[in-house]
Amino acid sequence: MFDSALIPKGVKRCSFAKFFIWVLILHIPVLIGTVAAILCWGLALNQTYLNNNFPFGLWIAADLGIIALGGGAFFTGFLRYVINIKELKNIVNYAVVIGVICYAAAQGILAIDIGQPIRGWFIFWHANVHSMLTEVAFCIMAYFMVLCVEYLPLLLENRQIFKFSVPRSFAHHLHEAMPTIAAIGVFLSCFHQGSLGGVAGVLYGRPFAYREGFLVWPWTFFLFILSAMACGPCFTILITKITEFFAKKKLVKKSVVGILAKISGGLTTLYVLLKIIDTLGWFGLVKEAGAPVKSFYANQPYGWWVLVMEVIILGAIPALLLLNKKTRENEPILILACVLNCAGIVMNRWIMTVQALAIPVMPFDKFVSYHPNWVEWATTLLPLWVGAIVIMLSYRYLPIFPQERELNPY
């Protein structure tokens, strides 16, 4: 094959032609997304269906969702390097790759979402330390650097680069320092996952989203961390399964996936319990403010089903599925549980942002609903396709899965 010198030793990859065709196919949605992004930058944000009632729309909901799903990177890293579960060595690399893609995606979407991207760096230079968004920006940028540093050794282990002695020893030393780097990553991630929760939680002007809290932070701060830890690994498992499906070969042992699933199940259950307690506490808080909770769910698309779906169907059920061994071991049920868990988290992000804005606060406010238009969808999915391309490249040229050679001897 044309690029055989780059493919790691001892593994089989499809022909470069087939690979290149797939990359070209993926470039079509990427192109559409780029056109949408240029429209937003060029003609200003009137291209979307956002308006003064809905300053936050699909983009912010997707941002929060992607970063929650990307939580798998920091949590798997935490388990592997800090709690030292050696088994996870085989999947932490892939978690890092997914993390890099998710965080790059989040920053990409933010670059399109803000009205003046060229002076977006004001958030760092003139930082307002009390604002949750500042905290998010600082930590996402910092953790993205951590993720890049974690991704670096994988990059350096490419066959050609590995030939040079400097990169080789650099990669080796990076592995030695990885626990400290992962610890820093966990420290940062805990903060920004929490701040993303705080984004909605501090809005005391919006009774729907407002949660009192502990010292400075609202409860949503901790709920978001917990939900990211719970659903991150699920997302990693999901992407691994999808990659295995496309690669048509086993890449990670069942036992490794099993560990992640077990931990994720425990955390999801804890999250659902705390979420229910928080919701009940919130009912009390709102009643005391005089607003009957019924009115929050009176306007049509956001009826009571929303609460049931988010907490029960997409929360409790995956938790139970992941908790007991039998269902966790069974492959299709595991995938279903992961999908439900991830969908639950993304839905929670949508509710805490878009629905929080939809619920009228002043009694004489009119209820207005919002749905994203093609420009918003194209730009939100753009990082998904770019991510797919990056995964294909990493899978092809970098030794991501240590157990691959063991699982597919040839």
Binding site: K9, R159, F162, K163
Partner: protein, 216 residues
């Protein structure tokens, strides 16, 4: 290159080195420092030249002569009765004396036949022009704080010739705003009139630093 030989070389991990001498490692180091120096010079030397461009004032105005003649700055740069500042005088102020030539200075001749006669405004390029988002109240600074013009405008009163008006191509700000020294080192107060300089002075005197004090 057959696969076996290629595999064999791979396994060895390319450890045998070409026979070059031990100073081989100097090549990248020299390259590093060369690149470093070249771009350092570009950054510090050439970049400011490209970034700032220069224009001449329409008329080479002699401040010293006028100050001796008229007394002080307030003669031409006066306060209106509603407290706002008139800024650079209009050509009708000049007409009061220069209706007809008062000497045979070529600049005055230029003033008269290009601006006074056709009744056009003189398109002065204001050195201290702040951007549109800034509200600067001369009344607050001159009347209340008792600052003299020199603090912000420097010794322009004693200048015989108008220095060229340098402005930033990108932002269109006069160079007096962001500062003359590219490194941002400020020797006297009028070298730079950026937000930080205003903030610094406000800080020292404990005056109010709310946004809407200086912004509009």
């Amino acid at each position: 290159m057959s696969t076996s030989e290629e595999k064999e070389r791979n396994v060895a991990g390319g450890e045998q080195r070409t026979e070059g001498s031990s100073w081989r490692f100097l090549v990248p180091v020299i390259a590093f420092f060369a690149g470093f120096l070249v771009f350092l010079c570009i950054g510090w030397g050439i970049f400011p030249k490209i970034l700032y461009s220069e224009k001449q004032q329409p008329i080479d105005f002699n401040h010293q002569l006028h100050v001796d003649e008229m007394g002080d700055c307030e003669a031409c740069h006066y306060f209106r009765e509603d407290g706002s500042f008139s800024g650079i005088p209009k050509s009708e102020n000049c007409i009061e004396c220069h209706e007809s030539a008062m000497g045979e200075h070529p600049e005055e001749a230029k003033l008269i036949d290009q601006y006074i006669e056709p009744g056009k405004e003189i398109p002065w390029l204001s050195y201290a022009r702040q951007p549109d988002c800034v509200f600067f109240s001369h009344a607050a600074h001159v009347r209340m704080a008792g600052l003299d013009c020199m603090t912000c405008h420097g010794p322009i009163g004693e200048s015989e010739h108008t220095r060229p008006y340098q402005y930033n191509r990108l932002t269109k700000y006069s160079r007096d705003i962001w500062g003359w020294n590219i490194a941002g080192i400020k020797t006297n107060t009028w070298d730079r009139m950026k937000m930080d300089d205003c903030a610094e002075c406000h800080e020292e005197n404990g005056t109010n630093q709310a946004c809407f004090v200086c912004h509009k």
